[in-house]
C-alpha cells in the first residue's frame, strides 16, 4: 500500500538484504518479548485487581527455575544476534580484492570524490552497477561520516588517517548520501548523491571529461614536481628506498619492526617521514605537510600503486 511516504529504505546493495534479514529477525523476537510482557501486565492488572481492601496475596518470594529460564533464553538469543551481526560487520569492512577503488575526501560541508581514471566530482559519486566499489576516505578538518542508507553502509571519516568501506550496488538509480557525524554549522547541508549506472554508461561518463589525466598520471607529475625523484631514483646508490612494487609489501624498519606498506603507511611517510624510517636509510626526508594537499597525496599513492602493476618496472635488487 502506498502511503505517499516511505516506511522502509531501498535495498540497493548486496549487503542490504542481509542486514535487513537480521533486522527483521530481531524485530520479530523483540515484538514477541514486548507483547509477552505487556499482555502479562494487562492480564495480571485486570485479573488480580484489588477487590477488597484487606486482601492478603499469597507470599511468593521467587522461583529459581524461572530465574534461570529468563536468564538463559535472553542470553542465547543475544549471543546468536551477536554472532550474526559480527559476521556481517566483518564483511562490510573487508573489501574484496578486485574492488574498484575510489578516493573520497570530506571537507567541511562537502564531499569530493576522485576516480582512478582521473575524473573527480563534488557531492556526487557515479559508480557502475554490479561491481564491488572500495572507498578510501579521509577528512581535511573534522570527523565526518559517509552514510548511504540504501546501501546500509556507514563509516566515520576521521582526519589524519584513511578509512575503508565497500559496497556493491544492485540497483541502478540515484541514492541519498548523508553526513552522519555532527561536523558543524551546515552538517545537515552536507548531502550528496550516489548515481549507480549500467557499466556501459559508466564508461561513457568516465570518458566524457576530455583530456582528464588519470590519477596515476597526475601522481607521476607531482612525483617529479615535488622532487621525490631526486632521492627515490631506484638505483642502488639512491638516498631514498626504492618505491617500485612497494605497495602492499612488508617493509623492515630501523627499529626492527615490520610494517605493511598500505595507504596509511605511504600517507604517513609523505606527511611525517621521521615516524617510520626504512632500515638502512638515513632520516633525511623532509615533511611535505602543507606542500601537497589530501588530493595530491591520493594522486601520489595512486602513482606508487601503478608502479606496482608495471611488469617491466625498473629492476629492483
Amino acid at each position: 500500500m502506498n502511503l505517499g511516504f516511505p516506511l522502509f529504505p531501498d535495498q540497493a546493495s548486496t549487503m542490504a538484504p542481509r542486514v535487513d534479514a537480521l533486522y527483521f529477525v530481531l524485530i520479530g523476537v523483540s515484538v514477541f518479548f514486548a507483547l509477552l510482557i505487556s499482555i502479562a501486565i494487562v492480564v495480571f492488572a485486570f485479573r488480580y485487581r484489588r477487590r477488597a481492601d484487606n486482601e492478603r496475596p499469597p507470599e511468593i518470594t521467587g522461583d529459581l527455575r524461572l530465574e534461570i529460564l529468563w536468564t538463559v533464553i535472553p542470553l542465547g538469543f543475544t549471543l546468536i544476534m551477536f554472532a550474526w551481526g559480527a559476521i556481517l560487520y566483518f564483511d562490510t569492512y573487508s573489501p574484496p580484492p578486485n574492488a574498484l577503488e575510489i578516493h573520497v575526501v570530506a571537507k567541511q560541508w562537502m564531499w569530493k570524490a576522485q576516480h582512478p581514471e582521473g575524473r573527480s566530482e563534488i557531492d556526487e559519486l557515479h559508480v557502475p552497477l554490479g561491481r564491488p566499489i572500495k572507498l578510501l576516505l579521509t577528512s581535511q578538518d573534522v570527523i565526518h561520516d559517509f552514510f548511504v542508507p540504501a546501501f546500509r553502509i556507514k563509516t566515520d571519516v576521521v582526519p589524519g588517517r584513511y578509512m575503508t568501506v565497500w559496497f556493491e550496488a544492485t540497483k541502478a538509480g540515484a541514492f541519498r548520501l548523508f553526513c552522519a557525524e555532527y561536523c558543524g554549522t551546515l552538517h545537515s547541508g552536507m548531502l550528496g548523491r550516489i548515481v549507480v549506472m549500467q557499466p556501459r554508461d559508466y564508461q561513457n561518463w568516465l570518458g566524457g571529461q576530455a583530456g582528464g589525466m588519470t590519477l596515476a598520471a597526475a601522481g607521476a607529475r607531482l612525483f617529479q614536481s615535488l622532487g621525490c625523484v631526486a632521492c627515490h631514483t631506484e638505483k642502488d646508490s639512491a638516498r631514498g628506498p626504492s618505491l617500485a612494487g612497494l605497495f602492499g609489501k612488508q617493509v623492515r624498519l630501523q627499529d626492527g619492526k615490520t610494517n605493511t606498506a598500505d595507504e596509511n603507511y605511504l600517507r604517513e611517510s609523505i606527511i611525517n617521514p621521521q615516524a617510520k624510517i626504512v632500515a638502512g636509510y638515513q632520516p633525511i626526508m623532509p615533511t611535505f605537510k602543507g606542500l601537497v594537499g589530501e588530493e595530491g597525496i591520493l594522486q601520489i599513492i595512486a602513482y606508487l600503486k601503478s608502479l606496482d602493476r608495471q611488469e617491466g618496472g625498473p629492476a629492483r635488487k
Partner: protein
C-alpha cells in the same frame, strides 16, 4: 569510648562509627582520584606507545637529577606525615606540630624544584602553545608529550598546594591542642591524602622522566 564524646556528631551513634565513616569516605575519595589521574595516564600511555622515539627525545630534555631529588623529597615528606599521624594518635601536641611543619617544608621544597624545572622548560622554549620549538623530531608529537608532562605534573602540583593548605590549617589546630588520642581524624585523613599524592608522583617519575634513557 564514652557516648558523650566531645566531637560526636548528632547523626552518628558512637565515635567508632564516625571514625570508620570518615575513613571509608576518604578511601572512596582517593578511588575517585585514582580514576581522575587514570584518565590522564591512559592518554599518556597511548601516545607514548604510538610515538616512542619522539617521546624518548622529549623526555631526555627533563633532568633526571631534579626529578630524582623531588621523588626523594616527597618520600621524606611521606615519612614525616606518617610520623605526624602517629604522634596525633599518641596526642603529643608539640610533635604533631613539628612533623606537620616538616611535611610542609618538604612539600614547599618539592614545589620549588618543580617550578624551577618549569622555568628551565620555559627557557628552552618547550612549553606547547608558547612559541614551542623542538628540533629532534616531529614537533607536533613532542608538543603532545609536553602537554601531558605539564598537564600531569601541573595537576599533581595543584594537589600538593591543596595538601599544603590542609596541612597549614591542621598545624594551627594542632598548636591549639585540638587533637588527642580520642580525636585525631583530620590529621589521619590529611595523611591518607598526602600519601596518595606521593603515590601519584611515584608513578609519574618513571613514566615521564625515565623514557628511553639508554
Amino acid at each position: 569510648m564514652s557516648k558523650s564524646h566531645p566531637r560526636l556528631l548528632h547523626h552518628f551513634d558512637d565515635p567508632e562509627q564516625q571514625l570508620e565513616a570518615s575513613q571509608s569516605g576518604m578511601w572512596l575519595f582517593l578511588v575517585t582520584e585514582i580514576m581522575f589521574f587514570g584518565g590522564m595516564f591512559i592518554g599518556y600511555t597511548v601516545y607514548r606507545e604510538a610515538y616512542f622515539e619522539v617521546f624518548a627525545h622529549a623526555s631526555n630534555h627533563l633532568s633526571v637529577w631534579l626529578g630524582g631529588i623531588n621523588t626523594a623529597v616527597l618520600i621524606c615528606s611521606s615519612l614525616s606525615m606518617a610520623m605526624a599521624v602517629h604522634s596525633a594518635h599518641q596526642g603529643q601536641r608539640r610533635k604533631i606540630v613539628f612533623y606537620l611543619l616538616l611535611t610542609m617544608v618538604l612539600g614547599t621544597a618539592f614545589l620549588g624544584i618543580k617550578f624551577t624545572e618549569y622555568y628551565h622548560k620555559y627557557g628552552e622554549n618547550l612549553i606547547p602553545g608558547l612559541d614551542f620549538a623542538f628540533k629532534e623530531g616531529n614537533a607536533g608529537q613532542a608538543a603532545i608529550f609536553y602537554s601531558f608532562y605539564f598537564g600531569m605534573t601541573g595537576l599533581h602540583a595543584l594537589h600538593m598546594i591543596i595538601g599544603l593548605g590542609l596541612l597549614s590549617f591542621l598545624a594551627v589546630q594542632a598548636a591549639r591542642g585540638r587533637f588527642s588520642p580520642l580525636y585525631s581524624t583530620p590529621v589521619e585523613m590529611t595523611g591518607l591524602y598526602w600519601h596518595f599524592v606521593d603515590i601519584v608522583w611515584i608513578f609519574l617519575f618513571p613514566l615521564l622522566y625515565l623514557v628511553g634513557r639508554h
